[in-house]
Symmetry: C2
Subunit: 301 residues, 2 copies
């Protein structure tokens, strides 16, 4: 039995930022999200890797209590992404993408996952996200999904359907503006709420994020990082912490979702201070609490 089911990619990332570079580092949305969620609860991953995926990465994930029964090992190579971040650290330039085993991926949700109350549908085609949701034995208590500008351009209607099927459809400011064809993030958040969502969360990178329900508006600041060493996985660490914290507390009240967002922002900020999963591997709950307290001081007036 797992607490949170995490759908997403497992990948090798080669990337360069103004602060250095890594080659064939562990990456992928499921990897980041599940590692972050494992700080709070037991996640299980639904994903696919190739025969080149090293045992040491699986061992690391298992050492965090992450269940890998839902990870298919297929003939071929693991998903590969190569990118570069320049002066504007918010925007990655993709130099190479090799889908490899992800091409034609049909996710299979293990029996032991099907009654989980918390489901995170990470960055994959909306059809793959929907298939995982449909394989669940019952509607989970909370479905969080993520999207990407690539899918909005390719099939806007399918992305809108996933927003409708999710309780929280995470997106960043650029994606929200693009999906709802508006310059106003408040207007975009209202559009999300119209699509049967009780909660709208729009991430704004270094500017933090906003949270809106029909009765409430919350703005979480960005943590003041002097150096963003590697922003890869920030959104997935955010999502994994959010759903992990909510699964652990079992409390979806306005007050607790605000707290979960600040925890998520704290973990994402740590993640951005190191390459790959370096910092996610290191940080403890005490580190996170410390940063959450800093967030309190940052907004105090």
């Amino acid at each position: 039995m797992v607490d949170v089911v995490v759908l997403g990619s497992m990948a090798f990332d080669s990337l360069e930022t103004p602060f250095g570079k890594v080659d064939m580092a562990l990456g992928g949305s499921a990897t980041y999200a599940a590692t972050a969620a494992s700080l709070f609860v037991k996640p299980g991953i639904v994903s696919i890797v190739g025969t080149d995926f090293p045992e040491e990465h699986s061992k690391f994930l298992e050492s965090r209590g992450i269940d890998l029964k839902g990870v298919e090992h297929a003939e071929g190579k693991t998903f590969y992404w190569k990118g570069k971040y320049g002066f504007d650290i918010n925007a990655a330039e993709t130099l190479d993408v090799q889908l490899n085993v992800v091409e034609g991926f049909k996710p299979k949700v293990p029996e032991e996952y099907k009654n989980a109350d918390y489901l995170f549908l990470g960055n994959f085609e909306p059809a793959i996200q929907k298939s995982v949701l449909e394989q669940m034995a019952k509607r989970p208590k909370l479905v969080v999904s993520d999207t990407m500008n690539y899918y909005i351009e390719k099939d806007r209607e399918a992305v809108l359907e996933m927003v409708k099927l999710s309780d929280i459809a995470l997106m960043n400011d650029g994606e929200a503006r693009q999906l709802f064809k508006t310059s106003s993030l408040v207007e975009a958040a209202k559009e999300i709420l119209k699509l049967d969502s009780k909660i709208a969360i729009i991430k704004k990178g270094e500017h933090g994020c906003i949270f809106m329900t029909k009765d409430s508006f919350f703005s979480a600041p960005g943590y003041p990082l002097e150096k963003v060493v590697d922003p890869t996985g920030a959104g997935d660490s955010f999502a994994g912490t959010l759903i992990g914290y909510l699964a652990k507390t079992g409390d979806l009240s306005d007050e607790n979702v605000r707290k979960a967002i600040v925890y998520a922002s704290a973990v994402a900020s740590y993640n951005a201070e190191g390459f790959s999963l370096d910092n996610l591997k290191k940080i403890s709950l005490e580190d996170i609490d410390k940063r959450v307290n800093e967030f309190k001081k940052i907004v105090e007036f």
Copy 2:
């Protein structure tokens, strides 16, 4: 005797936004800043207008207790700006600028202004800003200055000197990145502090603003406006409220500057909900307090 001396332009603005347009409306940095400051204290303006500047505008400013002894009436036309805001409401497209009487402007600070404790150096050439500072009988208790990408491109060194001469050098995120050649706003704020400033404030438009001293970091959220009707003068309303509130309270403590920033954000948000000075003319201290309380709820967790 005035409480705050405000240097800046007085202008006619013709502009178009997605929500409508106005022609030859009252504008200019001094107009916005002094009107905002007059909610709290008695400002005096140092500026220049042409013979076409209508009596009704002067009467309005005087009705707010604003002293106009420092406004030179020169032969010729008043400064004119024509602009357009598109889908991205944060960036104005300038369609026409006519400096008119501002060309060759030599500011003269009236005797009655020279002992004021609070000085706002609005958006003008650094040399004009410096000249006003030098005409003061003593160093004011607080000097707040503003700049603009135009001057950074034209004479970076002169802008840096003004940052050094000011206690608070206001700039927006784009200007801060440009002036200090960095993508990190935290790094830019540290550079401001290195230049003898005790306080760095960087405005981020819809994302609010950050405030940094050597011991403290504060992030004020943007007010969740669904419609930004006209962003013209938002920065000047912010600056005018900031210095007006600080002059009224006479308290430059960390805690009080944070409050002043939230008051300034509240007034700037009202201003952006209407064209020209329409909303600045209407709002009361009660309206502002109401919005400041909303800001409290927005950041609560």
